[in-house]
Amino acid sequence: MKFTKFFAFSIAFALSSTNARGADEFKVGLVLDRGGRDDKSFNAAAFRGANQAQMQLHLNLKTVEAADDNAYETLLRSMAQKDFDLIIGVGVAQQEAIKKVSAQFPKKHFVIVDAEVKAPNVKSLMFKEHEGSYLVGAIAAMSSKSGKIGFVGGMSIPLIKRFELGYEAGAKSVNPNIAVLKNYVGMTSEAWNNPPKAKEIAMQQYQGGADVIFAAAGASSSGVFDAAEDKKKYAIGVDSNQNWIKPGLILTSMMKRLDVAIFQACQSALTGSFKGGTENFGLSNNGIDYALDEFNEKLISPDMKKKIESIKEAIIAGKIKVPDYYKQKG
């Protein structure tokens, strides 16, 4: 009896102590872009991080997906008007919306992924995609037997150009004569959600001689993986670890650890140490990495792995300068 009482008391205490910190009252709003949380890629990584924060930090998470590009501002503003403490906008398309809404609600905290918004209440999470792309470009060139590799991007926007430039540079560092076929899925945000078209593009690249294709096209990437399956050639995944989608055919994945970055942002906002400004994630702090797991271990030989690791170290040490599209264009 006494024990039960003690038990109940300790639970009550535990609950009240979290209440004192306000953890379960702390509301986080996550606004995903059009890919949606099950794109197995970019948004999936963001959602994983926020969900982990909800589980481990016991905060109150609400996730919404924008139906179209005009919905961001409305979604962000309605969250800011309600009692959300931290509002996270995922994706470069939300830059303007975050800029506007964060200025209107200076007391609320905002996070933007993949774009910079300079305001004291906004934390910008930037990833050095070019570093990771360089690394997977090198891996592609090491695995390619035909001397031709492919790149399928979603839209031709600076962010994806950054992937492309890094990828090509990485491939050329291994084989200066390698040819890189480059294609883009579309011109509107439908490009991120058009697997049939991405598959058609990948089929043409494979038929054109490419034997590895790097897909940086959100939910459209699954079309590239389907083509890899049909043609029994390799593909490279992006943002999340996508090796599991077609085991044995996905050479590796260029991971953007949005999950880690967003978890950390939630944590800092919860503990009151949230600061505005830009945080950079790259190979050096494991914010960017290539995926190695049981699905692709047979594709990456120990010899290859050694080379990849040495390239990675050289980038971190600054011995290899990876071209950055953002800096090229000023």
Binding site: D39, L181, N193, P196, Q204
Partner: protein
């Protein structure tokens, strides 16, 4: 050279298959006098139903069958509102598109807990090329049926001169109902082709405007089956060519900016619709509500 020509040709056939299905669906409905701008929504529902049924029952044919049924059901809502309840056909068609856009994520959420994609269909449970052949078979059937059979004539009269059809003792509303339902099934098959042949799952809004492209092909083809099919092939060809031309150096040393290449299909659409087709006359009673005197 021959190699790349063959590749572009096969790519053209693949890309134009869903377009042609949807265009044939539109043709059925519009030749009977009912405007169908709901093709996009019908395709989307077909894509979703086809993907989940093919995945659950391990057969793309079952997926196809289910997609056709789903298209018929959605088209029935449309038919009831425009043929019986006098709704404006453009407004009701838009409503059907929006209904599909909202309903599919809703059902997907209930079934799989996610709103954007369905589970991936394994490679050996997908179509390889069957729909590409079937769509041309359907085309020929519809071509002969419309032109050579009594019931095909009814459909044409329902669209051109419903009063004459009525005077002959044939129910105009019944004929239109039949045509719209068949049109719904065909458009949904186009959607299912996207998810069970051209990719391996349903993805959110994966139709990406193909329903409207099909509508343009239908107008371009002057509401006739064979020219409509040619229009679909042309759109498929520009799409395939567009992919091929990206990053190619046409003059100088720099490739043409990818955006210029990507507008090619749209440019062709605008050009053919604006100038090259000549006068395209819709069925006379298209969009008009029919009431017995």
């Amino acid at each position: 050279m021959i190699d790349s020509l063959l590749q572009i040709l096969s790519s053209t056939l693949r890309v134009s298959t869903p377009l042609l299905f949807a265009a044939l669906g539109g043709l059925m409905s519009e030749r009977s006098g009912v405007i169908n701008i709901a093709l996009e929504g019908l395709m989307l529902v077909g894509a979703f139903t086809g993907a989940i049924v093919a995945y659950s029952f391990h057969s793309p044919w079952l997926g196809w069958g289910a997609a056709a049924i789903s298209g018929v059901l959605l088209a029935a809502i449309y038919a009831a509102s425009v043929i019986n309840w006098k709704a404006d056909q453009i407004v009701a068609g838009t409503a059907i598109n929006m209904l599909a856009l909202g309903m599919v994520p809703f059902i997907s959420k209930i079934l799989y807990g996610v709103t954007g994609t369905s589970p991936t269909i394994p490679a050996d449970e997908r179509f390889i090329f069957a729909p590409i052949i079937l769509v041309w078979v359907f085309l020929l059937i519809i071509h002969f049926w419309l032109g050579r059979t009594p019931s095909g004539l009814w459909v044409r009269f329902a669209g051109e001169h419903p009063k004459a059809l009525d005077a002959a003792g044939i129910g105009v509303k019944k004929v239109r109902w039949g045509a719209v339902l068949m049109g719904g099934a065909l458009a949904a098959l186009g959607g299912a082709t996207l998810s069970t042949m051209l990719s391996s799952a349903y993805a959110r809004n994966m139709t990406a405007g193909r329903g409207f492209m099909a509508l343009a092909a239908l107008i371009f083809g002057k509401w006739r089956p064979i020219p409509t099919a040619m229009a679909c092939l042309l759109f498929g060809f520009t799409e395939a060519l567009q992919i091929r031309l990206q990053g190619v150096v046409l003059w100088g040393t720099e490739p043409v900016p990818v955006q210029f290449i990507q507008i090619l299909p749209y440019l062709v659409t605008v050009l053919v619709l604006a100038g090259l087709v000549g006068h395209s006359r819709p069925p006379k009673a298209l969009g008009l509500f029919f009431e017995k005197d």
